[in-house]
Symmetry: D2
Subunit: 132 residues, 4 copies
């Protein structure tokens, strides 16, 4: 199982009146690390879409263990936890100064332009399974 990490710096826009990062933004960060992970595997998500395959989110889960604040640098770690016929699951760990602050998971289904499930693209599958 290969792990992949990237970092984000908390934007003022991502904070809320409680002085911490608004909870929905963790899902935005999950998307960022997915994008960068697929790029690192040689498959930028933009290219997957340009062939008419879309990675729809079927399920998202997030645990919030400690808050993040404006200007914090967050390490977002991801790995692929499952590859099936038409679907794919990612897990995530978020770290602030080496401390785990959040854990997450998303399940995705590959769909075509009409939203119908399609198989994982043939040339992407071996890369995903070897990474999982």
């Amino acid at each position: 199982m290969k792990k992949f990490s990237t970092t984000v710096r908390v934007r003022y826009q991502e904070t809320d009146a409680m002085g911490v990062v608004y909870y929905a933004n963790y899902l935005v960060w999950f998307e960022i690390v997915r994008t960068e992970y697929l790029r690192s595997l040689g498959f930028p998500y933009k290219e997957i879409e340009s062939r008419g395959a879309y990675l729809m989110v079927a399920e998202a889960h997030c645990e919030y263990l400690a808050p993040a604040r404006y200007d914090d640098v967050i390490e977002i770690q991801t790995w692929i936890s499952s590859v099936k016929n038409c679907s794919l699951a990612f897990e995530y760990n978020l770290f602030l100064e080496k401390k785990l602050i959040s854990k997450g998971r998303t399940n995705h289904v590959f769909v075509n332009r009409d939203g119908k499930p399609v198989k994982v693209p043939a040339d992407l599958r071996p890369l995903l399974t070897s990474a999982a």
Copy 2:
């Protein structure tokens, strides 16, 4: 178990390049119906905060069953599924033209200004437990 509903109309800002509502925005809608539900119980969240109690999110979960698009009117239904010493859980159903398009759940902990867990405010507890 009392159910409470409100509606949102999908904003252009909430859509993404796939032509559907971006997945993180469902958590924003969960927040909206929580706010309106607490208001309907006679406890606007703003008043809870003004006493120094904050409803931190500890966990969020969302299933995406069918997409929502720009200008769609979404019915967001919520109910309280558990009330404990310091914590509270909500569940959610989202409907588009009476069709269930998403299911969600959030767990919350009451904390003080320093982020330390505190008990559910005494005058709020009976309202929450009778609604659960």
Copy 3:
């Protein structure tokens, strides 16, 4: 010149660590009142798009006179200040409890799917000019 108003209630997600509404969100509100205004003229923006015409933003301007906070109810007023061959301008006033808190302006160009400027749709033009 016809004026049109709608209201929004400030979402927690729209606030920032300063405890006020994050400045970019005023442009989201401008979009909401434009959408509702076009609907009130009998031309939902979704229908305009379904014919292949898009109202691209060419310019946006906003003045922030007083802050807005979580749960505030904001009245957003708009009117059409100019209709040209391919373009359209809206102005905005935002009120909190009858007090003007923001003024804005956006200029738009009608474009086709390829982003090329096109004339204001023929059946929409008389409605816009009579409203301006």
Copy 4:
């Protein structure tokens, strides 16, 4: 006049159903480059806030010359165009592959925790004026 640049990669969340970056997000990017510029001058905005001074936005203006799309890398350039007693103005140019796609301007007022205008912090002023 010193110019400062940073880059952002367009997030899926920042796109809309038109397939381009939603217009309000340009103001988020302006905030990012302001943050990085102040850091480069030795004055992280977080430190300014920790002393009780806040850089409120009084006015924002943005011109949209060409669209940006998912995964594009945008160069955001900023410079300080004016420093007054209590206020500060930034200008911005956005580039996609060396092509200017947007121009912007924001005016800011330094305020205290109560939102009252205060003078530009004494040790920050010389850095700002020498950069302007």
